[in-house]
C-alpha cells in the first residue's frame, strides 16, 4: 500500500477531533473515557504514519507504550467511575462537584 502519509495524518487528526468532541460535549463519564481512547488512537496513528514515512521502527515502540498507557488509564479511569457511581449513584459528570469550591 503506497498511500501518501498526509492522508494518514488527516485521518489521525479526524480521529483526535472526534475524540475531543466526545470528551468536551458528553456528560456520561463512560463516553468521555471512550473519547480519550479515541484521542490516544489518533496519536498512535500519527506515530505509525510518521514511522512508515521515515522508515524507522521507533514509532512502533512508542505506539506500543501508548497502548500500554491506555490500558493503565482505562483501568484507573473506570475504577474512579465505579467509585463515583457508588457515592453519587450517577455517572453524569455534572454531578461530580465534590472538588468544586
Amino acid at each position: 500500500m503506497a498511500i501518501p502519509t498526509a492522508y494518514y495524518l488527516i485521518l489521525s487528526f479526524v480521529l483526535f477531533l472526534i475524540g475531543t468532541t466526545g470528551v468536551l460535549l458528553r456528560r456520561n463519564a463512560l463516553i468521555v473515557l471512550m473519547g480519550i481512547e479515541l484521542q490516544l488512537n489518533g496519536g498512535n496513528l500519527a506515530l505509525l504514519a510518521f514511522a512508515r514515512q521515515l522508515g524507522d521502527q521507533k514509532g512502533h515502540v512508542f505506539a506500543f507504550l501508548v497502548i500500554a498507557l491506555a490500558a493503565a488509564e482505562a483501568a484507573v479511569g473506570l475504577a474512579i467511575l465505579v467509585g463515583l457511581f457508588r457515592s453519587r449513584e450517577s455517572v453524569n459528570l455534572d454531578d461530580a462537584t465534590m472538588m468544586k469550591r
Binding site: 500500500m1 472526534i18 475524540g19 460535549l25 471512550m34 514511522a51 500500554a68
Partner: protein, 216 residues
C-alpha cells in the same frame, strides 16, 4: 509496491486508494457513532469496530505487530473492561449533550483548527513525498521486539511498573466503602440522639421542672 515507490511522484494506485478510503470512512463513521450514541453498550461496540478498522490501517502501514496488539489489547482487553463497567452501571442518560451557546465558539475554533491542520499535513508531508522502501521485516514482531528489548528496555520496564501501580490504584479506588459509610452513619445517628437527649424539650420543662434529668 516497489514500482509504485520508485515512481514516487505518481499518484497512488487507485485500488489501494479505494481500500484506504473505505477503511478511513469505516473508522470515522464508527468513531462518530461512539460519541453520539445514547446507549453505552452501542457506543462500546462502535468503539470495538473502530479499533478493528484501525488495526487494518496499521497493517496497511506495515505495522503488523501493532495491528495484532491493537486487536488483542484494545479490542480485547480494554473493551472487555469497558463492557464490564457498562454492565455494572447501566443508566440511561437524561441529557446526553451539554450544549451551551458558548460552545458555538468551540465549534468555530475546531473548524479553524481542522483547516489549519490539513494545510499543515499537506505542506509538511506533501502527498508526492515518496515513501521509503522498507525491508521485509519492517514492523514484524521479531524486529519490533528486538528494538524494544535492546534500545527501549528501560521504558519497557517503566511501563510494567506503571501497569502495576494502575492495578493497585484501580483496586484501591473502586473498593467498596459501604462498611465505613455505615459506621459513619451510625456514629452520626448516635451523636444526634445524644444531643437530643441532653437538651430537654421546652414543653416538658414547664410540666416537670424537677425531673428533667430522668429522661437520659
Amino acid at each position: 509496491m516497489n514500482a509504485a515507490n520508485a515512481a514516487g511522484a505518481a499518484s497512488p494506485p487507485v485500488g489501494d486508494m479505494i481500500i484506504f478510503l473505505i477503511m478511513a470512512a469505516w473508522v470515522a463513521f464508527f468513531a462518530i457513532l461512539t460519541i453520539t450514541r445514547r446507549n453505552p453498550v452501542t457506543a462500546v461496540m462502535s468503539l470495538v469496530a473502530t479499533f478493528f478498522g484501525l488495526a487494518a490501517i496499521y497493517a496497511a502501514l506495515s505495522a503488523h505487530f501493532l495491528a495484532v496488539i491493537q486487536v488483542l489489547v484494545y479490542a480485547g482487553a480494554i473493551m472487555v473492561l469497558f463492557i464490564f463497567v457498562v454492565m455494572i452501571l447501566n443508566r440511561e442518560e437524561v441529557a446526553p449533550l451539554s450544549l451551551r451557546p458558548m460552545r458555538l465558539l468551540g465549534v468555530v475554533a475546531g473548524v479553524y483548527l481542522t483547516w489549519t491542520f490539513i494545510g499543515l499535513a499537506w505542506e509538511g508531508v506533501p502527498p508526492k513525498t515518496p515513501l521509503p522502501v522498507v525491508s521485509e521485516t519492517y514492523g514484524t514482531v521479531a524486529s519490533v521486539g528486538d528494538m524494544l528489548f535492546r534500545e527501549f528496555l528501560y521504558p519497557f520496564e517503566a511501563i510494567s511498573l506503571l501497569l502495576l501501580v494502575a492495578i493497585v490504584g484501580g483496586v484501591v479506588v473502586s473498593r467498596s466503602h459501604q462498611k465505613e459509610v455505615a459506621a459513619q452513619r451510625a456514629a452520626d445517628y448516635r451523636k444526634q440522639v445524644e444531643e437530643l437527649a441532653s437538651s430537654d424539650f421546652p414543653g416538658k420543662q414547664e410540666e416537670l421542672p424537677a425531673s428533667g434529668g430522668g429522661h437520659h
